[in-house]
Symmetry: C2
């Protein structure tokens, strides 16, 4: 096996977040499902922007946040995802490259425009996302760079990629190249409603060993196996895949792998400012650990540390240099 | 005198901030004057963006931050400032209107593009700004809305407006309308280098009573009167204008007015994340107090409170609702 050039390659929707504070009754009035990723069209996007409070813009996208997290920890990361060559596309491209991530997916020339997600953060810090996919619908197997897929220790992609029409073909191709090169493949289930939309396909990806490692939060695990029992979900995922990490918000995370089970506490946070990116950064920390020879408990603790940093401020990517925090916490 | 429709009208450069962390040696290497507003052209803007780290975008601009602050405190505010009808222009317009500020300046159709400031925040929280003025150079007297200028208790403008060519004409017109309507006029000196560029004009504005109220930080005061003595500066400004508020970072602020002198401490801040907007929000708090019948000490304390909120997080405008903080602190 050739030496890996990248620790982690991630594949996902390339999105710029537009983030504002909102009250819970605003979500109810606007029909936004709290805590979820709500898909929206152009008309709905215009309406929501017209009623949105003052916002900030920050590059986001689940798998791209994970790549930025790996790089911030000191790992090497690459990303596949589609933007348009417009203002937001240039912002996205700048930010991910400036984070140190290798990013070379060819942008669209004209339309559709770069994806954006209007994110409403309620006083409890929970985020509710409203995503216009735009240019992301054009991601396809022609965007897979085989040399990167073959050169990453882990290729990681988001379940959200089942929403655009052809991204799943890019995923299957990436996974095949990665496995042929002797690498590992990971998925995050992304969102419990997303799991509900694509349950059978996700189960097939896992059971067919197209993916080796699964990241999920408790709600996504419950949805995947249609069970209200965490224990039943953990047993099912353990039987289905090589390694799974299940996050439980302030209750920490549980890792299951071939009979081994590791439980890790969440890191203490002074104030939950904005949960956007928490799961993405947990995955970044975990994968950084995994690709740097840490044991599973250490992997989960690095994940918790990275998640704690990102929920302490508004915005989905680290503001602190995670490599410094890693050293500080002796992880 | 007709009833005032607005507490505060502000006039300034309409800017979107692009904010990233940077080390001090980066500033030195790139020739950026720390803590200052550095004016840049297109070529320099492209270079700096190419070497800038991952950033977030947030609407900024000194006087527009002040208007947003007044609105967040529960006051009524209006703003004059020029954007282009492009992506950043739409972001700026959205954010200031969503903050509750009356904003109707006609945008440019095509070029120059909306102004942006690349802001580098060093580990000490200090911000160093690099501003491309773009559309702001087109602000002129034709952008003055006389009914707003006549209907605001205080018209406030930034010294930065002496950089674009014709904005000073808009200011003189606004000040004349305001005074004819029996209102007050205020200026912030903006930046010690800006004072150095326009010292004689600023002194003339003050001594000719074109402005009644002056906001300055200590460095700007020293620059205005070319003195290294704070006391000498305070005595000079007291002799020259009706009311002056001088901010001194963590040392609080000093207000002088017709023989009266009030010193107020800074509010405690856990961590200085980003000083961008500190002076703007101090002015917002002070002017909110002044237009709501508070005494000078209370005005300064509201200013300190608003400044403390904005330096506690990255971004130049309040994230908390300042009206809630006002009630909490009994101000």
């Amino acid at each position: 096996m050739a030496e890996a050039k990248y620790d982690v390659l991630t594949v996902g929707n390339a999105i710029v977040d537009i983030i504002a504070q909102a009250e819970d009754d605003f979500l109810a009035r606007e029909g936004i499902i709290k805590g979820a990723m709500n898909l929206i069209d152009t008309e709905r996007a215009e309406h929501l922007y017209s009623v949105m409070g003052p916002a900030i813009e920050a590059s986001g996208g689940s798998a791209s946040n994970t790549a930025a997290g790996v790089a911030s920890l000191g790992g090497s990361a690459a990303f596949f995802g589609k933007v348009c060559d417009d203002g937001l596309g240039r912002v996205f491209t700048h930010d991910i490259r400036a984070a140190g991530v290798a990013y070379d997916t060819r942008p669209l020339d004209e339309t559709p425009p770069t994806a954006r997600s209007m994110i409403f953060v309620t006083p409890d810090g929970e985020r509710s996302m409203n995503t216009y996919l735009g240019a992301c619908v054009e991601l396809g197997p022609e965007d897979v760079e085989p040399e990167k897929a073959a050169a990453a220790k882990v290729s990681y992609f988001e379940g959200y990629l089942w929403d655009p029409p052809r991204a799943k073909e890019a995923i299957r191709l990436t996974a095949r190249i990665a496995h042929e090169a002797g690498r590992q493949v990971a998925i995050t289930l992304s969102d419990s409603f997303c799991v509900d939309r694509y349950r059978d396909e996700f189960l097939d990806l896992i059971r067919s060993k197209t993916v080796d490692i699964v990241f999920a939060n408790a709600a996504e695990l419950h949805s995947l196996y249609q069970t209200s029992s965490l224990e039943a979900g953990l047993e099912a995922i353990e039987a289905d895949c090589e390694l799974a990490a299940v996050t439980r918000s302030e209750k920490g995370s549980i890792v299951v792998s071939g009979g081994q089970r590791v439980e890790v506490d969440a890191f203490a946070v002074d104030r939950v400012a904005d949960t956007t990116g928490a799961g993405d950064l947990y995955a970044a920390g975990f994968l950084y650990g995994l690709t740097h020879g840490r044991d599973l408990e250490r992997c989960a603790r690095i994940g918790s540390m990275a998640a704690a940093e990102v929920i302490g401020h508004v915005g989905p990517r680290p503001q602190a240099r995670l490599a410094d925090l890693l050293a500080e916490h002796g992880l």
